[in-house]
Symmetry: C2
Subunit: 330 residues, 2 copies
């Protein structure tokens, strides 16, 4: 296979390169594309240096797959070129996710949807991937009717600059230089703080990020009537997202069945022994492809409710690894 | 009034002294009690130095009120002495909170319960106080039947040592000395991490801290049938707790009515303009008595559901200020 990575120098792009190496996928050629600023640099892949190119006419020719790790505008701009050159575009932006002609895929859940693609396959939102990996094993036992989720999202969701901003602000505060803090990636100081807003405000007073949890979950799980109420909060954590979730299922199911189903499910680790201080934590999922699920218990409000807490690396399964998982399905 | 503070050198005890000064309460005498380790030191109050004493027989004699900022065991140990000496014990521990003979009070909500005291008045759990300050104005419009809450709790909940541990760990990580981290206050590293467990595991797989949200809320709001499902998570924030809450009310109520009720309610600030990046944040409530409430919106799962996000200082309204509020009612 000949593979291209669009946006190869960002946090997700770099992780895609790392994932391709780790998975030992047979690659004939790898082309790396980036903005003007980074073009001309070289990145190591399988012990060879690969030149980072600026995209120009014909750049995508001869490629079988292009992994996209750029923003919506750039994804839309290059999509046609990619498809016209005969490559399949696995896009991590949200530009095409809700397009009916575009499959939105977490391979562990809806791998078969990939077959319907017409050139573009969309990679879901990071919090949505991590949450659905945790709750899909429950849906396998009894259909999920609704979900209430509060997220604890790492700064890596805003890329490498988000991580740098957290560390720099924390250093300033620890050195009693709080007055020098000038947030630029985030709207407010994120060090030792929480920002309960990710994305853009929509008319129903939810954010775009919060609505993705409902809209993308419906599409991925093939549950068009699923109702989801989500609150997205940025937390001063480096790169793993965590989610506190309550799901309401059609039938009442036992905690034991839920745990068994989660334990058997690929890509997920059951990490659940509260009495011994064992539960999902961002530091334990950082730089891993696995999603941890724990704190599983009967919800105290809903007869058919299950509550849990999950955590997964936003850059890996939340983005790059899932895109490479899709690539492997091809 | 003659006032004593039991546990005067801890985070909450120190804050109680500060609150007494700020409120300009007329105090004849102030006695400060602490453990062996801190006895003999002096603390400034209204420009006078006050000696910190070790409690001995007769220490509480002549006092009208003792504010307690010690753990459950010490609170139980000294309660009898305090009452026998004729003082009223306003206790911040959880030792007496669920005792039927002991009022559990947030003055803005159930001030009248104070009258029924028999020597002890209990100060509620910190997250419970902050959450109930935010949702009580909703209950004034339509009775709350159930609540789903996910907390984002600051390290100050574990006292001054909790704050120090966060800062020290963060410094070690920023200096690439992660391997030197030895958590002692918390079960795991808290810097750049989340710990989804506060308190002790109970048989229903919730923690004691999570069950307080249901049990104490029922007692304070006089809603014996209220069902609450709560997930408590420690976050790397210094001293303000935040809570993502969904409440389900008896009748459907409009967002406008909810906002009006919150805006009118004493002790709470409506901070809710998502489009302009205005919402409750821990850095904005730190060292303030006010609880911020925002992100108010119709829940997408429940017809009669309202979702919101609130934040308040754990040491102030979550502990010391509420105790002093109770004192002022006396």
């Amino acid at each position: 296979m000949n593979i291209g990575i669009l946006g190869a120098t960002g946090a997700v792009g770099k992780q895609m390169i790392e994932c391709l190496e780790e998975r030992k996928i047979t690659i004939n050629g790898l082309k790396l594309f980036s903005s003007d600023r980074n073009a001309g640099r070289e990145i190591k892949f399988n012990n060879k240096l690969i030149l980072i190119e600026k995209v120009k006419e014909g750049s995508f020719k001869g490629l079988d797959v292009v992994l996209g790790a750029v923003d919506n505008d750039l994804a839309k701009f290059y999509a046609k070129d990619i498809i016209n050159s005969g490559a399949i575009f696995i896009d991590n932006s949200s530009a095409f996710r809700m397009d009916e002609r575009v499959p939105l895929v977490i391979p562990e859940i809806n791998r078969d949807d990939i077959k319907k693609h017409r050139g573009i396959i969309a990679n879901p939102n990071c919090s949505t991937i991590i949450t659905l990996m945790a709750i899909w094993p429950i849906n396998l036992i009894s259909e999920i009717e609704s979900m209430i989720a509060s997220t604890y999202q790492a700064v890596s969701g805003a890329g490498i600059n988000g991580i740098n901003e957290l560390i720099e602000e924390t250093n300033l505060i620890n050195k009693n230089k709080k007055s020098e803090i000038r947030p630029s990636v985030f709207k407010h100081q994120i060090a030792y703080n929480l920002i309960p807003s990710i994305g853009i405000a929509t008319s129903n007073l939810y954010t775009t990020e919060e609505m993705k949890m409902q809209n993308e979950s419906r599409k991925i799980m093939h549950l068009p009537n699923l109702s989801v109420s989500c609150t997205c909060v940025r937390v001063p954590v480096v790169r793993s997202h965590s989610i506190s979730v309550t799901v309401i299922t059609k039938e009442k199911i036992s905690i034991e069945k839920v745990k068994n189903s989660i334990a058997k499910f690929d890509g997920v680790n059951l990490v659940d022994d509260l009495g011994n201080d064992i539960y999902p934590m961002p530091i334990n999922t950082t730089n891993k492809d696995i999603v941890e699920v724990g704190r599983i218990r009967e919800d105290l409000v809903f007869k058919n409710g299950i509550s849990l807490f999950c955590s997964g690396d936003q850059i890996r399964k939340g983005a790059a690894s899932n895109a490479v998982d899709i690539l492997e399905c091809l």
